[in-house]
Symmetry: none
Subunit: 222 residues, 2 copies
DNA sequence: TCATACCACGAACAATTGTTCCATGTCAAA
DNA sequence: TTTGACATGGAACAATTGTTCGTGGTATGA
């Protein structure tokens, strides 16, 4: 880690230039190209600042390789304000499996699985990508929610639900997690399966713990 | 245009290698790297084949520039990969509704609906985006395929299926369209519902018309 | 057979490009 | 002021990398 994450103006310029160059040329620039663009006459100064950027975790370099540059995720985040906003893609971390017999695990399993990529245009406007996570359905336990084995459920972290939301709930009496449409009807909470041929169940509000709201379900079949 | 679009095996290898190298290193390879990967001892031979590829419109080169390579759309098409380099997003046209009582409509309804945006990384590598289209599920008729009303089915145009594929089939005796897993068992074709609690149906190969392969199913619940 | 086009090889050359060294400048703390 | 960390500049060097040239092989067709 660097002492301070503050970047000099030159380093910011370099970062921006590298980004622009790469997006338009689909290859990284050379040291001299950077120097010219950022008005640095000496290659050694460019080199110096590049190593600084590496220290700060914004850049990766491959020694002795021409154009051996690569922007890290951190750099993308730093540059484009929102790296995904540029491309319209949202990265949703795949946190693990969803099992009927356990509450949702929210442990930090980042890196364990490849993140899911979703087009921002496919999501409701209001969700923030930070609140999103994804789970893979494990067995056939979610059949009544029209969700089958291997499906990926994209969820939004929240502990309360509005009527009509599809949510993941933890039922304390049964010790089970299920996906259901949620309707609070005062006395009781009605949990409606997505499968129209199946009947709803009624439980007391105290025995329902909303774990998150289901934003999207996707199934890859090929 | 080149006299013949036929590529020598070496040229195909080069194309593949360049693509792989670029996707994993986010920069083009050098001539010598190509040579080593494709087992060409001389840089001039690599150079020779590169100019050939340029002539055939599969490659663009920038002279005197290290790693001055770029794959054209044609090349990506040739390799059989989705051109994800563009933005990572693929636009899939939403062609209309899928109804149980009709074959798939393939009419040109472009512009009628907003296209679906899918991350290329969520699709199998080999699909070409031109072959993809999407349909919205109309009623509850696809329940046995674990697909419910409003779901969006992304399909790949094709008239034949391999065993295990989930396909949309038109059953001529019943005059219905359904989504099923396809297994050709010689005498009969077994159509297996995605819902494991339901039984397969067996029909004669003559009475099945494969309309397309289901690549993905997505459901927006919020 | 000869001619021609196509493809391949190796080597040398020239340009590009990363690396290093030394000197200088700036600025804040001691 | 002096010190030291940090930043900059210029130049030379060394490695990487694109280019070119001469040679030779293998088909196909005249």
């Amino acid at each position: 880690m660097a002492k301070k994450d503050k970047l000099s103006e030159r380093q910011q310029n370099i970062l921006h230039y590298v980004w622009e160059y790469m997006t338009s040329n689909s290859r990284p620039p050379t040291i001299r190209e950077i120097g010219e663009a950022v008005k640095i006459s000496s290659t050694s100064v460019v080199n110096y600042n590049l190593t600084k950027l590496v220290d700060k975790g914004l850049l990766e370099r491959q020694a002795e390789v021409s154009r051996g540059l690569r922007l890290t995720d951190k750099a993308l985040h730093f540059i484009g304000q929102v790296p995904k906003a540029v491309s319209g893609l949202i990265n949703v971390p795949l946190m693990g499996d969803i099992v009927a017999s356990e509450p949702l695990e929210v442990g930090d399993t980042s890196g364990l699985y490849d993140p899911i990529e979703i087009s921002a245009s496919m999501l409701p406007d209001r969700v923030k990508s930070e609140d999103l996570f994804a789970l893979r359905v494990n067995g056939d336990s979610m059949i009544d929610a029209m969700v089958s084995e291997g499906d990926i459920v994209v969820m939004k972290r929240q502990s309360e639900a509005r009527n009509g939301d599809m949510v993941a709930v933890w039922l304390t009496p049964d010790d089970t997690t299920t996906l259901k449409y949620f309707y609070n009807e005062g006395e009781k909470v009605r949990l409606q399966p997505a499968n129209p041929t199946m009947d709803p169940i009624y439980v007391s509000p105290a025995s329902v713990q909303v774990q998150g709201k289901v934003v999207m379900v996707m199934r890859q079949t090929a």
